[in-house]
Symmetry: C2
Subunit: 252 residues, 2 copies
Amino acid sequence: MTDAEETAETYDPSRYERPSVTVDVVIFTLIDRELHVLLVRRKRWPYEGYWAIPGGFVQMHESLEDAARRELEEETGVRDIYIEQLYTFGDPNRDPRTRVISVAYFALVRADRQRLRVSEESIDVRWFPVRAAPSPLAFDHDRILAMALVRLRSKLEYTTLAFELLPEVFSILELKHIYEQIFGEKLDKGNFYRKIKDAGVLEETGLLREGRGRPTRLYRFRRDRGDGQFVFRWREARIDAGESHERDLSSS
Amino acid sequence: MTDAEETAETYDPSRYERPSVTVDVVIFTLIDRELHVLLVRRKRWPYEGYWAIPGGFVQMHESLEDAARRELEEETGVRDIYIEQLYTFGDPNRDPRTRVISVAYFALVRADRQRLRVSEESIDVRWFPVRAAPSPLAFDHDRILAMALVRLRSKLEYTTLAFELLPEVFSILELKHIYEQIFGEKLDKGNFYRKIKDAGVLEETGLLREGRGRPTRLYRFRRDRGDGQFVFRWREARIDAGESHERDLSSS
DNA sequence: TCAATAGTGTCTTTGAGACACTATCCG
DNA sequence: CGGATAGTGTCTCAAAGACACTATTGA
């Protein structure tokens, strides 16, 4: 940027050396009532044979979020799912090939409908329980995963994100189980019932599910209520928390 | 990524078209008890003559945060200041020159010691009260600024970030004034005294500052206390909030 | 009947907020 | 003394947590 007479005609982008830019997507789901993360096994150097967070290069024509959604769909066949930007990792030597800056996203997909595909660059794709994920992962992906978990925990505390992990129809105690899974602590049943009902985010379906004991009432998430994602505060938020959403910006 | 026999020797990074990567730094300070943001006036196309958030290209050898600190120092002469990553903006057409992905940071500098310099690419640098910043800014910088403000407000609610805006020694009511400035609402004096003292983050200096009425007791921020930044929760956190810090990752 | 699971009621403690009060300076 | 600014005390109300209780099924 030393040229004093730069215009549309004279500007030459090739003058500056450029890093590569990738998106990596940390994809969580709930399988057998336990939180899982999707990892791919690398086929090639570098980190050949290591498990990694799925990702790929950003195309010149697509936005970062589009790139993240494309990766997500390539790996799981899932579209229209919750996704948000997590953090951008850009240490100069995080990838031995060249300078690579990676914009990390995290996504939540419902327990039911994913269909995994092994992509070109991988020899395997698998869901791992987050408590039993392989370590170390390729590149700085351990750090990315750790950060995604912090963000996920944090957001559950003040958003309705947990619903993104549940099927269409669910019981209150199933919802409670998700919170316990992700927070790693037991919650009081009575208090949970009280809070979730006071929040007014549930719609009674009238359905029951039979089990061993008393049948369970089933609910649906009321997407119409409140401001969408930030409908109720489960409890006082802790550290971290995610970056804002568009709707928050409008209030400033 | 279709070559099956890729190794360190055969890998050719030039095969993929690459975006440019910049860092933009939203720099806040407190001048005359009011929150200000630093903007630069562009000398060249595109957006010639528009005010913009200072930033520049990331060099191949430096990390993103190093680049942000370098920009900060180039513009204000300030080093060793609070800085954190905000969000990465990467819409394909946000810059007419070429595909530019911008990693935004936000920084807080103390009221006292900045010394502005007009850099190569600018014709002016100025502090603007955030409530009277020019609009529109160049590129998508309005959006970046809005996001930085949301993040700043959010973080004040559960961190001790406000101290970064104050001089070494300050009074409790000065601190209260910062919160009021940034939240845009009046706080109760009694409740503020109670909370801030219970938090145990202040160290009495024994100093007094004389004024028109009763002299003010002056305090220092106890940097040793608690877990550094996240020492006390001013009040229940609202929406947004920033991404986590390293120390949070270690607990997961 | 009991085991198993679902769901409710209530007491106590904590902390946020409102607001009135007291303290110490200058003139 | 009064005006100005600093700093404290106290009451109320709402939400969070602990925990005991009741409900409804199948075997």
